[in-house]
């Protein structure tokens, strides 16, 4: 048997049983030989069944009643055709009634408001019996020959009464009784039982009491009005259902009595007595049912108000909880309130999905499952319910009231999770979907009425606020975490000062470097201390850089400086150290500054080491250059020495003569002194160039330096047979530099030029000239030599690059490092038609002197 039929079976069986029972009761209340009975419940039972089901299900509900119909009516000895025809008319009555009520009422199986009750009374309890009775009477008239109008009248009134009083009772019995007995308070249940007892007792008293045996002494009979308190009681306390039960009880007792010739109408012929009874009960029923409906409507309104209040309380408490929850507590609050929401809405599962920040997908944020529901573990929203979640990404809600209405795949996905009904509502803020709220029912189909959705939209807004806040908090925390990670990873100590100079935050490195700051501050440089005060104390104790640091940081705090930096040397346990302290303003209304403290010892040592090795290399280079100049230097020394020797010997000869020429001897001595000075100058120059180590930069005239070098190489030029032309600016070219190093550069360039020219050239010429610009001096050494090999223009400055046989390739590399150390630059280019032009430029001190 398919699942569909398994679901239908209970309803079908109930219909069959009730129809059978109803038909039996109807048969017992029949006044022979008429076909209609005083009250005929089966049609009302069918109508109740159809009202409680959708039209799709009507056919099998009606079919379910057929066996019962046959079982009862065939025993009457009626022809089968009549029995079947009567079944058709009974069914038509139920169908007309159900269709009419469905057309008139927004909730066919509810009688809890006056409009719904009116729709039922007009469509189900009046129209259907009246219309169907024509068919019924026609069938009976044709097949049995009964009087048409008699049958029509009997059946119409019988069925109006039955429909009026039985349908609400059956619906209440089937739909509400189980819940009512489970949930209603005992006091109410006792009251209901008492009401039933009183009603039946009074009904028996009214309808069954023999004539003359009245409840009121002296009265011929107990008045029917005695029943009214019971009916009102039922209407006021139990609504339409109560009225219905009370009327059914009364009707059964009265009909039983009436059909057996008893009761208030027993003076009439049997058929008239029954009709009177039916009219009496029907006329009573209509206002009572309406009264019950009105009362229930009031209850419903009250309940709705209470429900709305409860919802609004839930919503406001939920909002409050999210507002008060700390950023990281939003998840916990969401889980708690998701559960409370689910309990309030009476759903079995509630999931809060959170949209991924980077992809169009959702992941499970919080989940709540009713305790009695088997836990569906690890639901992946996109994998398990993708078809449901996907539309919510575009802010579209999805509602499934019954899994049965879905396509196969979707149905299968819901069945896997045992879900019968589901609602997915997007959660959005500012046009952006942040997540979704999914509610699911396990027990069975359930409607998702507009009221619920409207409320969920409000709930969604609360969740949206929470999710948005959580996302913002997460971003903030991520930002904070990144900032602190960056601060922690820095090799620089960082401290944040407020506008008064108080330290409000430091990184770890600041603390470890604190010791190195004793040149600037005295005391503990941790959070809370005032850095400016510590500087002041250090300054008073004679710390060399404290005063400058304090003034600088104060200027930065006062926004009069955008940056302050001080570099200083300090003593540490591991020897000499260097550090840089700098301060920049902290942007923001509160002001303040960020002070950084960097240990630059390594960098400084490396710089010093580089400087030292450069100087050593330069020295080595100078010494080897001297080697190249040996012949030339010997010549330069030999000239004065030769002069001195010859002069001295000439003087001796003069003194040997009889009349020495004293004036000539004086002149000779002057020449000797001059030559001696010349020799000493050469030696001095040599000594200077050979000297090793650091020489401070001083202000010097580059032209003078050039001339001294020209003198040094002049002999070499002569030896090589090269003419050296010198064209220096008449103005001084004042630069800040190291004389020896600059001499070395020029010496190197000149010697290279001389060598280049010396190797077989017709025009043996070297030109040295200077030019001034407003800010710099340009030195050019131009030769007519072989020129630079193609493509080697830049390589010639690289270490170990040499075009000379036996050359080390260090000269120009060192020249460049010297020029760059003087903040200058050096370049080479080919000269046309032949030769090379080497140029270096140094900054002028104080601009061009006039």
């Amino acid at each position: 048997m398919s699942r569909v039929w398994r679901d239908r079976l209970p309803a079908a069986l109930a219909v069959a049983l009730l129809y059978y029972a109803g038909a039996h009761i109807g048969a017992l209340l029949k006044i022979p030989p008429a076909t209609p009975s005083a009250i005929w419940p089966p049609n009302a039972i069918l109508l109740a069944a159809l009202l409680m089901h959708s039209p799709r299900d009507w056919w099998w509900l009606l079919l379910a009643a057929l066996p019962s119909h046959l079982a009862v009516e065939l025993r009457f000895g009626w022809p089968t055709s009549l029995v079947l025809a009567l079944f058709i008319t009974n069914c038509s009555e139920a169908l007309i009634g159900a269709a009419a009520v469905r057309a008139l009422s927004d909730a066919p199986d509810r009688f809890d408001s006056l409009p719904r009750m009116s729709a039922f009374i007009v469509g189900g309890a009046m129209l259907a019996p009246i219309v169907s009775s024509f068919a019924d009477a026609g069938v009976v008239a044709v097949l049995r020959g009964d009087a048409f109008w008699a049958v029509w009248r009997a059946r119409t009134f019988s069925n109006i009464l039955a429909d009026l009083i039985i349908v609400p009772a059956v619906v209440a019995l089937v739909r509400d009784l189980a819940r009512w007995t489970a949930t209603a308070r005992p006091r109410v249940q006792i009251e209901a039982a008492l009401l039933a007892v009183f009603t039946i007792a009074i009904a028996v008293g009214v309808f069954e009491a023999p004539i003359g045996d009245s409840l009121i002494p002296g009265s011929p009979r107990t008045p029917v009005a005695f029943l009214l308190p019971c009916f009102l009681w039922a209407a006021v306390r139990f609504g339409p259902s109560g009225v219905s039960f009370a009327l059914v009880s009364t009707a059964l007792v009265a009909s039983w009595a009436g059909t057996h010739g008893r009761g208030p109408f027993n003076g009439l012929p049997a058929a008239d007595a029954v009709l009177a009874l039916q009219l009496f009960l029907s006329v009573m029923a209509v206002p009572l049912l309406c009264l019950g409906a009105l009362i229930q409507e009031r209850w419903r309104t009250e309940a709705e108000l209470a429900d709305r209040l409860a919802f609004e309380q839930l919503l406001s408490r939920m909002s409050g909880a999210f507002v008060l929850a700390p950023g990281r507590g939003v998840d916990d609050a969401a889980a708690i309130w998701l559960g409370k929401l689910a309990v309030y809405l009476q759903v079995d599962c509630a999931w809060l999905l959170v949209r991924s920040s980077d992809a169009p997908s959702m992941s499970m944020g919080s989940s709540w499952v009713a305790p009695r529901v088997p836990v569906v573990s690890s639901v992946d929203p996109m994998r398990d319910l993708g078809w449901l979640v996907a539309p919510t990404l575009d802010a579209a809600p999805v509602a499934v009231e019954d899994v049965g209405t879905l396509a196969t795949d979707e149905r299968a996905s819901m069945r896997r999770l045992s879900v019968r009904a589901v609602l997915a509502m997007p959660i959005g803020a500012g046009g952006r979907v942040l997540g979704a709220l999914v509610l699911a029912s396990i027990d069975g189909p359930r409607p998702w009425p507009e009221l619920l959705r409207a409320r969920l939209r409000l709930v969604s807004e609360v969740f949206a606020g929470a999710l948005a806040r959580q996302a913002a908090d997460a971003a903030l925390h991520a930002g904070e975490a990144m900032k602190s990670a960056i601060l922690a990873s820095l090799s620089t100590g960082v401290a944040v000062l407020d506008r008064t100079g108080r330290i409000i935050a430091v990184n770890e490195r600041w603390t470890t470097l604190a010791h190195d700051q004793h040149e600037i501050v005295t005391g503990d440089v941790s959070v809370g201390a005032n850095y400016l005060e510590l500087c002041l104390m250090a300054s008073m104790q004679g710390a060399p850089h404290a005063g400058a640091a304090r003034a600088g940081i104060e200027a930065v705090l006062g926004r009069s400086r955008s940056m302050f930096t001080i570099e200083y040397e300090t003593d540490g346990p591991a020897g000499e150290r260097w550090a840089v302290l700098s301060a920049v303003p902290l942007s923001g209304a509160d002001g303040g500054a960020v002070v950084t403290h960097t240990d630059i010892t390594e960098r400084r040592r490396a710089e010093l080491e580089a400087q030292r090795s450069r100087q050593e290399l330069a020295h080595f280079s100078r010494v080897s250059t001297m080697g190249e100049l040996t012949a030339s230097l010997a010549h330069q020394l030999n000239q004065p020495l030769a002069g001195i020797l010859s002069n001295a010997q000439a003087a001796r000869r003069l003194l040997d003569s009889s009349q020495p020429d004293v004036e000539e001897i004086r002149s000779i001595l002057d020449d000797i002194v001059e030559d001696d000075r010349r020799a000493a100058d050469v030696i001095q120059q040599l000594r200077e160039l050979m000297r090793k180590g650091r020489t401070d930069h001083v202000l010097l005239d580059l032209n003078t330096v050039l001339q001294s070098v020209v003198r040094l190489v002049s002999s070499d030029a002569i030896i090589r047979g090269v003419s050296v032309e010198v064209d220096l600016t008449p103005e001084m070219a004042i630069v800040h530099g190291n004389r020896v190093e600059l001499q070395q550069v020029i010496l190197n360039l000149l010697l290279n030029a001389l060598e280049a020219v010396g190797t077989g050239s017709d025009e043996r010429r070297v030109l040295l000239c200077t030019q001034l610009t407003p800010t710099s001096v340009e030195v050019m050494v131009e030769d007519t030599g072989v020129g630079i090999v193609n493509g080697a223009d830049h390589r010639i400055f690289e270490p170990f690059f040499s075009t000379k046989p036996g050359g080390m390739g260090m000269g120009l590399s060192i020249a460049r490092s010297i020029v760059e150390a003087h903040e200058g630059r050096i370049a080479a280019k080919r000269r046309t038609p032949r030769g090379t032009i080497m140029t270096f430029v140094l900054p002028l001190v104080g601009g061009r002197a006039v």
Binding site: A631, A634, H635, Q636, L637, N638, Q639, P640, L641, A642, G643, I644, L645, S646, N647, Q649, A650, A651, R653, L654, S657, E664, I668, D671, E674, D675, R678, S715, I718, I719, G721, S723
Partner: protein, 125 residues
């Protein structure tokens, strides 16, 4: 008086050396004329050729050797003593092979110079 004292020419770019040699030669009884470079010497009237030429090898412009070769080419050969501050034995050998009267390395003793001069004057060109 002039006729009895042979004329010695000194060509050297170094003024101190020139002056010292002139004094020495005059003290030794010669008449000395000094020239700062080869061109100045060539400008000196050829009608009074010196008896001996003391010539510096390395000079700016025309070198001593070039001057010597030039004179020989013009058949104006003068006994020549080369002097140089630049020690170069190969050049000394080549100069003497080419017919130079002597070769002296600066600084040199007065006797060396005067002996060479005396010899040169005595031998003639």
């Amino acid at each position: 008086m002039t006729s009895t004292r042979p004329l010695i020419a000194v060509v050297d770019d170094d003024v101190s050396v020139r002056r010292a040699l002139a004094r020495l030669l005059q003290a030794a009884g010669y008449h000395a004329e000094t020239f700062a470079d080869a061109e100045a010497f060539l400008a000196y009237p050829a009608s009074h050729p010196p008896a001996c030429l003391i010539l510096d090898v390395r000079m700016p412009g025309m070198s001593g050797r070039e001057l010597y070769d030039h004179l020989r080419a013009e058949r104006r050969a003068i006994p020549t003593i080369f002097i140089t501050g630049h020690g170069d034995s190969r050049m000394a050998a080549r100069a003497v092979e080419a017919g130079a009267a002597g070769f002296l390395l600066k600084p040199f003793e007065d006797e060396q110079l005067l002996e060479a001069v005396e010899e040169a004057v005595a031998h003639g060109p």
